[in-house]
């Protein structure tokens, strides 16, 4: 019986011909676009994480601490919630840095009698501090330490980051919504097509007393086969596109987004895509049931 049902499904598929091909390609397209969006989003996510690492908050110190005081201070600064990385910048480091900023005019510095700059600690905030409230809280705590003269850097980097994340979220929602709609339409269209092609056949089958499973199962199987083929094709398309594009994209990415590596979907993501395709196809086949 199973052999009979599967062979019926393949027979239907062959007969549907160009239409089955269309359905498969539309599923491929929807899934490939979904996958491509997934890849881009996760890479942008990496980029955002990297940018967060680059945001610096500078805590200016009243005096240059000695080694012991420094160690204790650093420990307390690290304990503040929202602080991820810390780098100590001594007065000498700061002067060197100023010379770098001045470039051609660095010689000016040498005309100054003594080093006028303060020692400071540069902080990297953690993801915990990415809400404006958490960031304000962290800045307040740092400013309250006795050794600290002033904290430079405000909450606006956090706002920027969260705006970026909101933007990405909105794009994701929009793209996801459109693709979802397209996939549903695809499945509906393909199903309607197959149903239409089979309408008389289904009626005749029922009239000669064919069991329901023989009437419907091939439709379901056919849908699943289409979905599976579509998904496998989508994975192939994504893989090839990645192989071709990654070498060209990587330098660009590192130039514009500061991201060294352009990563592909993890195996679990690929499995999810294939599963989604099969489900989509099965759904199409199943809708056959609702359709009559």
């Amino acid at each position: 019986m199973v052999g009979f049902l599967v062979s019926e499904a393949f027979r239907d598929l062959r007969r549907a011909g160009r239409v089955a091909l269309s359905a498969i390609l539309l599923i491929t397209l929807a899934l490939a676009a979904l996958g491509a969006f997934w890849i881009v989003t996760s890479n942008l996510g990496h980029a955002v994480a990297r940018w967060r690492d680059r945001v610096r908050i500078v805590v200016y110190l009243r005096h240059e601490p000695d080694a012991a005081a420094l160690a204790s201070l650093m420990a307390r600064v690290k304990a503040v919630p929202g602080v991820a990385g810390t780098t100590y910048v001594s007065r000498a480091d700061a002067l060197a840095s100023l010379k770098r900023v001045l470039g051609k005019d660095a010689s000016v510095v040498d005309q100054i009698g003594q080093n006028p700059l303060s020692a400071s600690i540069e902080l990297t905030p953690s993801a915990d501090a990415s809400t404006p409230e958490a960031a304000r809280e962290m800045l307040a705590r740092l400013g309250a330490m006795p050794e600290v003269e002033e904290v430079a850097g405000s909450a606006d980097w956090v706002e920027r980051l969260s705006e970026w994340q909101r933007l990405l979220g909105m794009i994701g929602l929009g793209v996801g919504g459109i693709l979802g709609l397209a996939a549903i339409l695809t499945v509906t269209t393909a199903t309607t097509l197959v149903l239409h092609a089979r309408r008389h056949e289904t009626e005749i089958m029922r009239l000669v007393g064919a069991p329901e499973i023989a009437v419907r199962m091939p439709l379901l199987l056919q849908g699943m086969i289409q979905g599976l083929l579509g998904a496998l094709l989508a994975v192939a398309v994504l893989t090839v596109a990645y192989r071709l594009a990654a070498p060209h994209l990587e330098p660009l990415m590192s130039l514009t987004l500061g991201l060294g590596e352009f990563s592909f979907l993890p195996p679990a993501g690929l499995a999810a895509l294939i599963g989604a395709g099969t489900l989509l196809g099965a759904l199409g086949g199943w809708l056959a049931r609702a359709g009559r």
């Binding site: 019986m1 007969r15 056949e201 009239l207 007393g209 064919a210 069991p211």
Partner: protein, 223 residues
């Protein structure tokens, strides 16, 4: 075996109501051979459709093989139909399958062992004189050939009841007689037969019980 009690079937086409069956009652016992006749539009096809559950009567009771047909669910209707051989007036062959596949299909869907299928299909085709056209598709058949293929499909399962709707409508007399002989053979082997036909003369020739419909009413039941 088959029993109808006060069966009505009314169709509405826009404002017009057509009484395809009006208060039809009769009873057919196991092993009978019944001819159902009446002019075009009298309700013959509708009556057969009620028997195999393709049409739900507007009113009345229908019992076939001990089942209350109008109350059956989809899978029970399918089971009932598997006990019936039906020759549809318009053949209703699956257009994408050859004559052989059309007939083998019903056996396969029932799980008949592969080894028996070919022999049984060709046996049925031989009975209706169509074995040479086994590989043709329905569109490649003449109307008479399609009708014979439909009969082969109906008898291949050796059903307890055969419902034949105008099985010789497109056949010349010689071939019609052959087909009637095939149907009689099946009847002789124990199948209950209802044969719908517009040829009023056939009743006289076959000398069997005859039901006559006129505008949906059963006006005669004799033989």
């Amino acid at each position: 075996m088959i029993e109808l009690q006060g069966v009505w079937k009314t169709f509405s086409v826009g404002p017009v109501r057509v009484h395809a069956l009006s208060d039809v009652s009769f009873r057919i016992s196991r092993g009978e051979f019944v001819i159902l006749t009446g002019t075009s539009g009298a309700g013959k096809t509708t009556l057969l459709r009620v028997l195999y559950g393709a049409e739900r009567p507007t009113e009345g009771e229908v019992e076939v093989l001990g089942r209350d047909v109008p109350s059956l669910g989809r899978s029970e209707v399918a089971a009932l139909r598997r006990s019936l051989g039906v020759v549809f007036q318009d053949a209703k062959l699956l257009p994408a399958r050859t004559v052989y596949d059309n007939i083998a299909f019903v056996l396969r869907a029932l799980g008949t062992p592969r080894s028996q299928i070919t022999a049984r299909v060709f046996d049925a085709l031989r009975k209706v004189g169509l074995s040479s056209r086994a590989q043709a598709y329905p569109a490649q058949l003449s109307q008479g050939e399609a009708q014979r293929a439909a009969l082969a499909r109906a008898i291949v399962r050796k059903p307890p009841i055969l419902l034949a709707d105008e099985p010789t409508g497109n056949l010349d007399e010689g071939m019609a007689t052959e087909i009637h002989d095939v149907i009689k053979d099946i009847w002789t082997s124990g199948t209950t037969v209802i044969l719908a036909t517009h040829q009023a003369g056939l009743a006289a020739v076959l000398k069997r019980r005859t039901l006559v419909l006129e505008r949906g009413r059963l006006i005669k039941d004799q033989g």
